[in-house]
Symmetry: C2
Subunit: 639 residues, 2 copies
């Protein structure tokens, strides 16, 4: 019998958290002042905010979700900094929603234009439930930011319509979404309203998925069409695995198919597990987590090994130049990690969350907040993009026809605060290190926890604990997996992490008094990361990492032909802060390395390679491509 | 002023050459007794030999060419071994051709069924000239094998029809083929008939190509369609480069586009150059040769770096698992090399010819002659083929919908003899080492040259020269580029190659008498080949080669995760003949190497890699995949 799942840790709500410090303050400001207005303009320009006025293009199926993610991001930003002009824009959208919603609660701008008779006829491919989910997330965020209920009420009615339409009851369709998302959104709606039926609907969608007879086949036949059991390329041996509907979720043993779909689903499964106590679901989540993070995740925390189907492939298959690692998938991995962390306070979840955040999530947006990557390759040879089908351009773009990534980044960054702190009945967990403050309540006593740090560039974190009255509780500090020898002092006294480390957290239990100081030092020597020997693309190679930040070489600093650069096994790598680096400065690395001298113009030779010494410079991966287009690579040859 | 081009070396005609010896005899027998009948059955089964009876599928556009290549291959086989049953099959096809050919000379089974009004309206994509070219090659081969003129006469009429239709005269279309092939075929027709107009037409096609206004645009507009200037993926910056029609051929500086098209074109250009004396064309051929062989050729002699467009990409871009290296392209490289060798007796041409032949051409067919590779990857991970669009299966197939490769292999092997010997006025060149005999005439004296050798497995080649009367001439023996210290004795007396080596050939000039013996020793230590440092996929890696044969590791011998195998720089590699190896036995290699021990199940670790010693076994690349499906790779890590 699996253990009962429960939500052990509760995130400190966004409105009680501030994030500041040298690293995040300018990034969050850019997100609020540059990215959000730009994305609003793009949504406006492309009709995403003017539904029902013009017939949308085929990809208009996603339009509601893009608008929703923009609203959600804006709502989070409003939490930190009220802005009447932004509220007016959102309110205008909400008025449209109120006017457009059908009497039965249905709301989807695309199908209300192209033909309402097509609604709910193709869950496999039509993204209606996906759009509804994003609108629910936005409604909850806007309600929590402003207290305004109008959008929430629209989406409650919409959820109720969906709940009447789908289920196991008489006359209901036994459907579930092609693209998961609504599961986690319904849990948010449940938490915001306390209405149990939304949770039940989320659980239904999770539990019904992948069962026989297959719903996607049934609905295709009902449309008079042949089922399209889209699975692996060149075969349907895992029919519908692209949409994680090849088997009931508890029977899925590997992370398969479209990687955003997969991780939204897993996050929703974890949400349902923690709210329903379903241990079998937790077991499934753990298994899928292990498969993702132990066999299918790039070193920069990105996921999705191929652009064909934007999907997971197979264990240890992590190609470089042809990777996908979609920004949305990497963000979704953060979502999944965040849920697992609420279920189980294990630092491995926060380690992955942090790895994705500081590397393949942040890489999704330019340092100035105006351009975006859809795919986050661990290596790029720009010329190659002219010769591969379906490969995105090798430089950030200002927008995409399928524009999921930019607003996803915006909402991720605007809600960063929710990932930093969690509480239990008698503990405060600190998962991420960043300047800022959390106001929480422990055993009925208000406690403020403040961090001062220049993390991730610097290794010192100063925490101050300020309970209103002295109170005994545990301050649980995450000891990052990348850190070999963390040091902690409490009120100037050294704490040995080994004494208090549980699952990667230092548990410091004491009666805290106003102004108690904790200092954490996380030594950040440059580490050489190596991959499992089955990762054929990283064999004999190393990735440089300092703290949570993964580094890469760029052509700008090192010239072309980066694959030829070899870092000797014993070479020292030095680090220094370059204040002029794009994005407000960054720690950059340098080392002596070797390159091969071309002996003549022969393509192949049996001569011994002649080497020459070079100085290489490595820069944070997430900041690459901010100084023009060029080659880039994370994995360097050793030897 | 470029030098005048001329044909300096003339291949000894196939009918005067025999090929035997331990290596080739069984392979040529398999080709004649297994491959050719199988391919006939496949052509029959799929309607390729029953034109006009059923409406062909869209790819029926190629059907005439497949039938033609089968006939050509069969004709070469008839040269070596007459076979009445085979001749009857061909004669039946020729009777169909005679009956089907229109009064004006037009002949194309596809367009005569789907609509004759569509003929010559889409040279860009319709392959009519391509099919005609292959039928001309077949007609010449069948005429030369049997003396029967019927097919030749049909194709002469067809060529004359084409010559009336296309050209710069009044009322003619200024077209040229989308898929080159007819150029080299017309030169063959010219040589067989002595009719100069066929050569002129070939020269016209070569010279007209890529000029403005662009014919492919003109004909599209004439059809009332928008031009499709198919170029690089994601852009038309080199519009029509896919078909080498982005610029006049003399202005093309790199080998671009569809690799079979490119190499058939270059072979045709070289043919036209040598027959017309056009030095500017020779200059263009040399430039394209250098680009192909110095920057865009795989170590196994294959060409074409991507399946998208089946094309060349850019300099030094030679991806492994996603390579294409189509069997037909590798064969076409042999064709081009063969022409360049006739223009200039430089061993570099024969070196490339031999590299392709013994590696990426032979790999196209299974050891038993029944299955075929379309793409010849230098590395394969079978699971990956389930997740990449347009990737062929990782194992040989018995046939293809677009079936160009199997009959191309059959004709290549059946005509092997023509690549071995060439003559000038006063020299006999030996380009390839294989048992067999050539009957040629030097200064009016019949001379027989006989080789006995177990090349490429063994390093000794024994030649016997038998002039009818003593005659003074040069015996020019190729000294392979892979061989560091060839040794030659003539009549038991040592010849220092340095004294006689000109452009990679040992020129042995003497008065030859009946029974003079020459012995060539080509020491074959296992060599480590390394690629130019700009080949990012081979950086830090080595390929094992012994004689002309490139080796690979297979999962069958070495287990999976071959990318992890590292060959120490100093490891000795031993070679031995394994008589039980598929394909009649083969020299296999073995060495001590290292593998990484997985330290735990972590995907990433900062621990130092722990190595373990392993024994590896490398097998000839061309024989891989004859013992079941599995991983394979040519390039091995060094270190």
């Amino acid at each position: 019998m699996p253990a009962r799942a429960r939500r052990r840790l509760v995130p400190v709500p966004l409105k009680h958290v501030t994030v500041d410090g040298a690293f995040w303050t300018p990034r969050l400001r850019t997100n609020r002042e540059t990215t959000l207005p730009l994305e609003y303009d793009q949504c406006k320009r492309t009709g995403r905010l003017d539904q029902m006025k013009v017939r949308p293009p085929a990809r208009g199926k996603f339009y509601d979700s893009d608008a929703a993610k923009w609203i959600e991001a804006a709502a989070y930003a409003l939490t930190a900094a009220p802005d009447q002009a932004v509220e007016r824009k959102i309110d205008a959208y909400v008025r449209w929603m109120q006017a457009a919603q059908l009497g039965d609660g249905y709301l989807n701008s695309y199908f209300q234009i192209v033909g309402i008779d097509r609604r709910w006829t193709n869950l496999h491919q039509d993204h209606e439930l996906y759009c509804a989910g994003h609108l629910m997330e936005a409604a909850v965020a806007y309600f929590q930011a402003t207290g305004k209920r109008a959008m929430l009420d629209v989406m409650r009615r919409c959820a109720d319509h969906i709940g009447r339409t789908f289920g196991r009851g008489k006359g209901q369709k036994r459907g579930y979404p092609g693209h998961p998302e609504i599961e986690l959104a319904l849990v948010k709606l449940y938490r915001a309203t306390g209405e149990r039926r939304h949770l039940d609907l989320a659980a239904y969608f999770v539990n019904e998925r992948g069962r026989a007879p297959h719903y996607f086949e049934q609905e295709a036949l009902a449309r008079g069409e042949a089922p399209q059991p889209f699975g692996r390329i060149g075969g349907v041996t895992a029919a519908y695995d692209h949409r994680q509907a090849h088997a009931p979720v508890r029977e899925q043993r590997t992370a398969d198919g479209h990687s955003v779909c997969a991780l939204y689903l897993y996050a929703g499964m974890a949400d349902v597990a923690m709210e329903t106590g379903d241990g079998t679901l937790l077991t499934a989540c753990r298994r899928l987590w292990r498969n993702v993070t132990e066999k299918r995740m790039y070193v920069h925390g990105g996921v999705g090994s191929t652009r064909f189907g934007e999907r997971f492939t197979f264990d240890y298959d992590l190609p470089e130049e042809t990777a996908y690692a979609e920004t949305c998938a990497n963000i979704a991995l953060v979502f999944f990690a965040h849920r697992m962390l609420q279920l189980e306070p294990r630092a491995e979840y926060a380690d992955v969350l942090e790895r994705a955040l500081y590397n393949s999530v942040l890489s999704g947006v330019s340092a100035d907040g105006t351009r975006f990557f859809y795919a986050n390759w661990p290596a790029v040879k720009p010329e190659a993009h002219n010769f591969r089908e379906r490969q995105k351009p090798p430089t950030r773009q200002d927008w995409f026809g399928c524009a999921c990534c930019p607003p996803n980044l915006a909402r991720m960054l605007a809600s960063l605060g929710q990932y930093v702190y969690m509480t239990t009945r008698d503990a405060v967990y600190v998962h991420l290190y960043t300047g800022g403050t959390a106001k929480c309540t422990v055993k009925g006593t208000p406690v403020t926890v403040t961090q001062k740090t220049d993390y991730p560039w610097k290794e010192r974190v100063r925490l101050t604990v300020r309970p209103e009255d002295p109170v005994n509780f545990t301050l649980a500090l995450r000891l990052p997996g990348w850190c070999r020898s963390p040091r902690i002092t409490v009120a100037g006294k050294r704490v040995r992490p080994a004494d208090v480390d549980k699952h990667g957290y230092a548990h410091i239990r004491r009666t805290w008094r106003r102004g108690d100081r904790v200092e954490l030092r996380l030594p950040m020597p440059v580490e050489r990361v190596r991959a499992h020997p089955a990762v054929r693309q990283a064999a004999g190679k190393t990735a440089l990492q300092r703290g949570p930040v993964v580094y890469c070489l760029e052509e700008k600093d090192n010239g072309p032909d980066l694959a030829d650069v070899a870092l000797p096994r014993t070479a020292a790598v030095s680090a220094r802060f370059d204040r002029r680096f794009p994005g407000g400065g960054a720690v950059v690395l340098s080392a002596r390395a070797r390159r091969t001298r071309a002996q003549d113009k022969s393509l192949y030779t049996t001569g011994r390679p002649r080497l020459r010494a070079v100085r290489i410079r490595a820069v944070p991966y997430f900041l690459w491509n901010n100084r023009g287009e060029g080659e880039m690579r994370i994995w360097l040859r050793e030897g």
